[in-house]
Symmetry: C2
Subunit: 386 residues, 2 copies
Amino acid sequence: MPEIYLDNSATTRPYPEVVDFTGKVAGQSYGNPSSMHEKGLEAERFSEEARRQVALFFGGKEKEIIFTSGGTESNNLAIKGAALRNRRRGSHLITSQVEHPSVLNCFRFLEEEAGFAVTYLPVNEQGLIDPEELREAAGPETILVSIMHVNNEIGTIQPLEKIGPLLKKNNPNLLFHVDAVQSFARLPIKVKNWQADMVSCSSHKVHGPRGTGSLWVKEGTLLQPLFHGGGQEYEMRPGTENVSAIAGFGMAARITGENQGQKAEALKNTKLHFYRKLMESGIEAYVNGPEPEESACHIINLSFPGLPSEMLLHSLEAKGVYASAGSACHSRKPEPSHILQALGLKKDRLDSALRFSFSCYNNERDAEEAARITAETVKELHRIVK
Amino acid sequence: MPEIYLDNSATTRPYPEVVDFTGKVAGQSYGNPSSMHEKGLEAERFSEEARRQVALFFGGKEKEIIFTSGGTESNNLAIKGAALRNRRRGSHLITSQVEHPSVLNCFRFLEEEAGFAVTYLPVNEQGLIDPEELREAAGPETILVSIMHVNNEIGTIQPLEKIGPLLKKNNPNLLFHVDAVQSFARLPIKVKNWQADMVSCSSHKVHGPRGTGSLWVKEGTLLQPLFHGGGQEYEMRPGTENVSAIAGFGMAARITGENQGQKAEALKNTKLHFYRKLMESGIEAYVNGPEPEESACHIINLSFPGLPSEMLLHSLEAKGVYASAGSACHSRKPEPSHILQALGLKKDRLDSALRFSFSCYNNERDAEEAARITAETVKELHRIVK
């Protein structure tokens, strides 16, 4: 049986050299970077090298990188940290209806428990927000806008180069946060063009260790920390640094980011090959969100009307193809995806959606095999369900 | 040159089998536990086994264990989470003056930014709080008390078996949190006798991976989460689980906890051997905090009047002995320790204090060698300083 892992938006297989490196740092350089002796400094050199590597994606200033425990923490630190720290300047916040739960639930918290007003922007059928609508929603009271770069379920790429300048033109004091967990090291992160103030990333989405990630915070941006404690991470994120995972994250980011354009092209080709082969099979399937050529290189979301997502997911799994029904981050809640709902999809599309997400570990043959197995399984299930 | 690592209260060397296991889980079981397919379930089995192992220290209920990114996060979740969630019941909090910065700075935040009143209990020369004073400080308005088990700088063991029942007798609704980062798996954690509601632990203090830890939360205790996001960790701590580190933490806790009594005895003997050999050398040195026989098995804090801590630290380091000047968690701030200040020590004692903290990787020969090198270095430095 093949094992074709197409759930790379949930998590990726770490590079073997990253696993080795992480283990070596863990076993040998076990000092606490806050310790003043050589064992501490040795550990610190690894986290500082990683900081340098991650900073390169954001213009190169090491002190603008805060290491966290992952994407969820980065999003929480950015959104709650910026809103709570800057509440004297205004109480209005803006985000979209298709953000990750770690973004949306921060805004819900700020709305329900902290007295903020939140605008949740709708999206069109492709999952895109309308920059004009965003411009109209933003006023002098708006202190924070958070818009993701690449959607985790349908791969929509938001036009951040339009959005950022539009926002800042009207209100230069407003803070702009971007959840780039799905795009970091895979697509260019243009913080200058986006006029972004904060960008969230996760290590395990780019073949790095779980348990770490980063928040890029533009120099001078004020946040209320989530944690209080020692002075680590410029007093923005106290706690003993997860040095070995951070070191592995730096390495994974560097490897993933090398020849970014070529790699993105190859990933897109793999995805498109899967899609074309699947459609050639004659089964009934519909793309949710943007056309596969338009969406991020590694994500495609498809509905197979008449077949419940979970049934298809488990049937595919039994044949060695791992996909996702809704985002992994819903933690097994069998609810229809809020993202697909925001697209205005009808029930039969919502209930039968699967996400296939690719990585460099999937080649064209995997894509073809996965398409063949998926088509075969869809046909089998239709016979059973009927 | 020997390498004698005596900074085990800052962080410990991970067990080689834990490093191997963590790497194996990272490389092979890379699924996201929230994914509904077998790769996700495979990962989840590792985190659930770790949950079972950690829960055994607290009475065995898996659902009472929340995995976090470490001790700092556990303390923040417990203290800010309990205070903010229960503020309708009262606004008074109690802690001691000798807590870890990740505890103290949570209370300072709650005091300065969230409208709570905080009592910071003083300690005696041994670093002990007075249970009677605590009883008097606690009133019907008190909703949370946080007292550490073992002090991280001087090894004082607080009389939690007296404190907890005393608190609960007067006010059964009050929540009692214990920072057990220094004692977990080394000393018995008697949550029932302590009448505790929450206990914080850290993995890297018990020879486990950095970047994880846990908060034991007694069933029914309500907290406001630090993070908002997916539904992970019973909705108390969203974010993709750091599965490999969690798996390693479970294993490290199990190994450290095996034959706990015997190991604590051996550790104490190593520490006492170091202390006796040092004192036999005729140098001037004073124990800070409790007598070495009375303090936690692995910690001793000594002052060498006339020799600045940092000078002695670096001279020892040059000879392969790694100690600590103040807690590592101050992240290199050259301030006198707030813990030693709370003991009422004079300036010459404050300025010349070093902590030596032991682990199972230190044997009696190391202790003797470290004592010899320390004595020799103290004598040399006294010649230079004069």
